[in-house]
């Protein structure tokens, strides 16, 4: 009879690790390729997306910079991006570090942390280091594919340059 540890390893082995790392990587690629319409689909229907600062996060303060609870609010963000908000066109390039993960047997979710740096590229050609921080993710399988149940984006800096309209 396999021990509890062996069981856990069986439920979360190399394949699962690879699959989860793949989700984290493809999220960044989708954002960088301008596929903002796909953004809500990376989440479960009730998924949470929250951008905050390290200062707020460590102080346990609930308001950060952006907070979506459920795909509906994410779809509204996307719609606002296309038709309501006004900003200078720009794109991102995400560099996401190697994720660390732990498997929570009770919920069947994976908790992952990865660091990121995002360079913002303006139409003029100017490139700036726009954001650095960490992703704190809760990932679960839904209808056969992995989704974010929660993605907390913790920015190292309190300061956002100009504005934030494309999710990080």
């Amino acid at each position: 009879m396999p021990s509890a540890i062996e069981k856990q390893v069986a439920q979360f082995g190399d394949d699962e690790y690879r699959e989860t790392a793949e989700l984290i990587a493809s999220y960044g690629h989708a954002m960088d390729d301008g596929e903002i319409d796909r953004w809500p689909q990376f989440f479960t229907p009730n998924g949470i997306y929250h951008i905050t600062t390290k200062e707020n996060h460590e102080a346990g303060l609930p308001i950060g910079i952006m907070r979506c609870v459920g795909q509906g609010m994410m779809i509204d963000r996307v719609k606002a991006f296309h038709s309501a908000n006004i900003f200078e066109p720009h794109s991102y390039n995400h560099i996401v570090g190697h994720p660390t993960m732990s498997y929570d047997k009770a919920t069947g979710c994976v908790r992952a942390r990865s660091n990121f740096q995002v360079v913002r590229i303006m139409e003029t050609g100017r490139m700036d280091l726009y954001a650095t921080g960490k992703y704190l993710d809760v990932i679960q399988k839904e209808a056969g594919s992995l989704k974010f149940r929660e993605r907390i984006v913790v920015l190292d800096s309190r300061n956002v340059d100009i504005l934030l309209v494309v999710p990080l």
Binding site: P62, V69, M74
Partner: protein, 422 residues
């Protein structure tokens, strides 16, 4: 031919060769946004002059020994709470060599010590001790007439009003409440005169002169034209009535609006908290779930206090915006999102969701992060040009029935001209 200057006989040169256009406050010369000499003069005449400057909130310094750093204009400032609970403010500049004494945004300390030569100050800014004052092994040290009591961090006069701490370098300016005037003070009391709770903060760098943001806050004309979130999502705002109140000196203002629908909803609900169902095309309608907090029917307000702060109350989203000049073409805009101690969990949740409306990523406000930069970039090569602001007339007067006016922007310039002597 070169002639040597004769300082004694030379005519007094004006501080600045600048003349306001004859059209008055309906014009703002573009030079005001780009000229480093004007920027320097503003530091003197406004920020170190006859104005009250927002420093921080009382709740940011809950314990004895807490300090918080900020700026008045470009001058670095420390705010402390001493062991008697008294709040002090002082310039963050050591009396010895001028180094910054406090480096963190906030901390809790027994006393203030400059890291350079360990000069040590009490929480009130008074010098307490000097390292090696008597020298080392009888050699060196301060002259025998050196008196610790004669040195301190430069004090800043402070006053607390509705949980906000204001500071000034002026000995002449009246108290904060008189500086605000009765109508402004009353509206601040409506919004802040009860125990406050900070729900979150962040800041945003905007690449424009600080006065462009000061104008932008007072510009009720642009609100529904630039910020199309409301119309895009068919959130009904056509029934909103509102107006603008200016202070006596015209440089502070309140712009307010009422949603009639909210009032109707209040009539058939006994509950203290009820949601207002906005007719919207939102997929996530809980973004705008709100309750009526006040019985005056006002559901949206923006209130400015000259020179560089604003209190926002959008539905239930209460926030202080403080915009600190960081150079002639750069401003750091701070967002302090607030709730009240008395808020229920449900009310807090509504404030949290509504915080999506404003801030650096605000669905209704993010455009302000770039629009002022567009003006900065559009005008920087034309210092002789001027903006044209005649919407709603050419003077600065309160307008209690309409917000289709630039009256508050003109009011800012009226106050600015006064304090700058332009």
């Amino acid at each position: 031919m070169l002639t040597a200057p004769h300082p004694s006989s030379a005519p007094a040169k004006p501080v600045l060769d600048f003349k306001w256009p004859a059209e008055g406050i309906a014009r703002a010369p573009y030079r005001l946004f780009t000229d480093p000499e004007i920027y320097k003069l503003e530091q003197d005449r406004i920020f170190r002059g006859r104005s009250w400057n927002f420093l921080c909130l009382d709740v940011e310094l809950p314990k004895a020994g807490d300090y918080r750093t900020t700026t008045i204009g470009e001058t670095p400032v420390i705010v402390t709470r001493d062991h008697d609970g008294k709040i002090h403010a002082m310039v963050n500049r050591c009396a010895h060599k001028g180094a910054l004494v406090c480096l963190k945004k906030q901390d809790n300390v027994a006393s203030l010590t400059c890291v350079y030569h360990a000069w040590n100050y009490g929480l009130d800014g008074q010098l307490k001790g000097v390292a090696f004052r008597n020298g080392v092994r009888g050699q060196g040290g301060m002259p025998s007439d050196f008196d610790v009591a004669k040195h301190r961090l430069q004090p800043v006069r402070i006053e607390s009003f509705c949980g906000m701490i204001f500071g000034t370098f002026s000995t002449e300016v009246e108290g904060v409440e008189a500086y605000l005037g009765p109508e402004m003070a009353q509206f601040i009391k409506r919004n802040l005169d009860r125990p406050l709770r900070i729900l979150g903060t962040h800041s945003q760098t905007i690449h424009n002169n600080w006065k462009l943001y000061a104008e932008n806050l007072r510009d009720s004309y642009h609100a529904t034209l630039l910020h199309t979130f409301y119309t895009t999502f068919k959130v009904n705002r056509l029934d909103m009535d509102g107006g603008i109140i200016l202070s006596d000196e015209k440089w502070h203002h309140v712009s307010f609006a009422r949603r009639a629908k909210l009032q109707e909803a209040a009539e058939y609900s006994d509950a203290k908290v009820h949601s207002a169902n906005y007719e919207s095309a939102l997929e996530g309608p809980r973004l705008l779930k709100a309750w009526e907090e006040f019985d005056d029917g006002i559901t949206h307000s923006i209130q400015t206090v000259f020179p560089n702060m604003c209190i926002q109350f959008t539905l239930n989203s209460l926030a202080i915006r403080f915009f600190a000049p960081r150079g002639v073409d750069k401003t750091e805009l701070f967002w302090i999102f607030l709730g009240y101690d008395r808020d229920t969990e449900e009310q807090s949740q509504m404030r949290i969701m509504q915080s999506n409306l404003t801030g650096a990523a605000g669905l209704v406000s993010l455009e302000d992060g770039c629009i002022n930069e567009f003006v900065q970039r559009g005008t920087r090569d034309d210092p002789g040009g001027a903006s044209f602001m005649e919407m709603g007339g050419r003077v600065a007067e309160s307008e209690k029935n309409s917000r289709a006016t630039e009256t508050a922007v003109r009011g800012f310039w009226q106050g600015y001209r006064g304090i700058m002597g332009f």
